[in-house]
Symmetry: C2
Subunit: 424 residues, 2 copies
């Protein structure tokens, strides 16, 4: 894959939805061999929206790039034994399980009987053991009460599954750290991460929890303004929108120069007896500052504003939709090695992101697309589990495992199904 | 610290704001020795809001828990040499630099002359080299156009600095992975991660980029509803709000049972010719489903609704403000090992989060609070750099380094300053 940081590490992933698959994606793009355990016919999230006209999920194929797939009937004892054997297979870099599906037959204690240095990382919903997803955790964090001009009575959810993202990266981190410890000490690890802990710990890390506890205050709801300094969005003469941030003193000075606000800022400082070079005073005076800035944007096209902001090194960004970003933003283009055009079966050619980590001085390997279900079944059984081809054939015959032709959303399978339907 | 996954690893952090300090926090709470390079008197973010009445920042102390601090004058050549020596000090677990401040005297190539197996991880704003912060990246992702009922013309920013969070965890992951590779191969790594890549790659991983490219469609703006299945917030009889999610078929069946919707759902399915056991059909019929659910919540107090939802195993969460979460949510309480009460100088006793990773079967070490600036200056110079106390004394005398008594926000320093002011 893109990087070789984790080459030699093999991770077996039994997962659904976002956090666990995204953790596996991070590991795979950093060079680990990530093997998905897939239900024959697909698991709970295999057809999740958005989907192509032929049914293949852009959500699933986005989250499972560069992994191998073993399609197996895990309701059968024999299927489960295959998976257990795969997780506990020998090899210094093997013996790692990533999951968000707590099933007794994949319990750490059970598998550790076969491989004492097992590393398992289980992503849970809520730390109290209850069922939870990003949305049902987010509502309890206080963020909806202060997002988008929301209030406690009219909360506004953010759309980004932010806790899933942070949880995924924490899980990838925990696995890499545990693999490093095992490499030097031989000790395995039974790791758990709850989505609710990821969310609530963020309140602590950003100071919001202590603010609530010791200062007895809630963060105010201030729309698109940033908290603690100056930053908000403005409309240009041609109806575009731009966010400008003046958090650091350097960013503030650049904004003042770019927008020619020196006199206005000086007058404001005199009038109010404030020092706007101090971030907390910019924050207190944010509405008055915005009144100075607004006419400058209103008098300029997006292009003009961009040029003048850049001339002075101001910190700003354009508002774009996803289609606009794809069409207009060079950071999604060919000059950025993080993005490549790949081909995904049932989807076609499309832009896709590899590892966001770039390593200088070493070649970046090509990205691989998401597999079909069972695309690597035979390869895994033969090479990793060391079965012979007769044994693999018997497993297929008895429906314990399946290859990619059994993927209901594979282009070939669909064609075959149509042909059968037409012939019948 | 909490875990010993990374014990033996020493990371030197030269950072400001959120992403890099949070990456260092993740490493520290997993057992790494993270040494902050702090300006004497404090860097650009040292007093960032929210702050205690005495001036200590809850933001800074939240993001820098469990690290050591070396206060040093990095404008002096001698101060820079000390930092360079610290980054490139010998030892199998040393030689790691985490930074978001690109200064030539900490460039990888330069430091690698002293330590060829150096690992450096640099967090950048934008992949094109331009200045960027979370807000000026977020606006370009398309999320504000679909958050909180927003549109391209009236974008709604989320308040959570979600890209900073995800970037931080990616950086911690990359460092752990590179340290593991170095442990086995001896090879260092020059790593870079751009905040903009973290954001845009998420569009790819969640399927939104390909949706825009191949289906030529933008994700709709649907307020608090979740995309692709059923989930939204409802008001209870006593004015509280609850989010219920029915993404999986199990969650849907639980919700239908809990709210006694069997007849209503059957009628709706008949009337529309749909099958609401399918997530995409629940999504299409979400408003009609919500009309069935709404009266159920409106007729129950929060307590009643909670009890009945739990009885049927429905997936739900309460809306809370941060103060309410702290007061009411047991997941922030003493039963959760992730949270502890710690004492931070200049702040006092407060609840705080340690590593979200829990490791079973091994003791969890205690959390440490954020340092004062220079709290560990002498310790680091004596023990890590091997200076003698006379040499350390001379560095203090000449203002090249400082101890915690020079921290302008340290309680003792403030008391001393007040005493001086009163005497003069």
């Amino acid at each position: 894959m893109n990087l070789d940081l984790l080459s030699g590490l093999r991770v077996v992933e039994s997962s659904a939805f976002i956090a666990a698959p995204l953790a596996g994606l991070t590991l795979a793009q950093a060079g680990a061999d990530v093997i998905r355990i897939d239900l024959i016919g697909g698991g709970i999230d295999y057809a999740r929206m958005p989907v192509m006209p032929g049914g293949r999920s852009l959500y699933w194929t986005g989250l499972n790039k560069g992994k191998r797939s073993l399609a197996v009937d895990i309701r059968s004892g024999e299927g489960r034994e295959l998976v257990q054997a795969l997780v506990t297979a020998p090899g210094a870099g093997a013996g790692v399980l990533l999951t968000n599906i707590g099933v007794p037959w994949l319990a750490h204690q059970l598998l550790a009987q076969q491989r004492v240095d097992l590393i398992s990382c289980t992503i849970e919903g809520s730390s109290d053991g209850s069922n939870a997803v990003d949305y049902t955790v987010n509502c309890a964090t206080g963020f909806p009460a202060i997002t988008g001009g929301g209030s406690a009575e009219r909360p506004v959810n953010h759309v980004l599954p932010a806790w899933d993202l942070a949880c995924a990266q924490q899980a990838a981190f925990a696995i890499a750290a545990a693999a490093m410890r095992r490499q030097s000490s031989g000790v395995g690890a039974e790791l758990r991460i709850a989505l609710s802990d990821v969310a609530f710990s963020t309140l602590s890390h950003l100071g919001m929890l202590t603010e609530a506890e010791l200062l007895q205050q809630e963060r105010p709801s201030i729309g698109n303004d940033l908290y603690g300094a100056f930053g908000r969005d403005f409309a240009t003469a041609d109806g575009r929108r731009i966010f400008v941030a003046a958090i650091s003193i350097g960013q503030w000075r650049s904004l003042v120069r770019a927008c020619g606000l020196q006199a206005g800022v000086h007058a404001l400082e005199q009038q109010r007896g404030v020092d706007l070079s101090r971030e907390e005073q910019r924050y207190a005076a944010r509405d008055a500052i915005a009144q100075l800035v607004e006419p400058w944007f209103a008098a300029r096209s997006f292009e003009q504003a961009q040029r003048e902001l850049d001339q002075h090194g101001a910190c700003w960004g354009p508002y774009r939709t996803v289609r606009e970003a794809l069409a207009q933003d060079p950071r999604l283009g060919a000059a950025n090695p993080v993005f490549e055009t790949i081909h995904t079966a049932g989807v076609g050619e499309h832009r896709a992101a590899g590892s966001v980590v770039r390593e200088r001085g070493r070649p970046r390997g090509p990205m691989r697309a998401a597999p079909l279900l069972g695309e690597h079944t035979d390869q895994i059984l033969l090479e990793v589990l060391g079965l012979d081809s007769a044994a693999v054939g018997r497993l297929h015959d008895r429906g314990i495992v399946a290859g990619p032709d059994s993927d209901p959303l594979a282009p070939a399978a669909r064609t075959a199904a149509r042909a059968t339907a037409a012939a019948s």
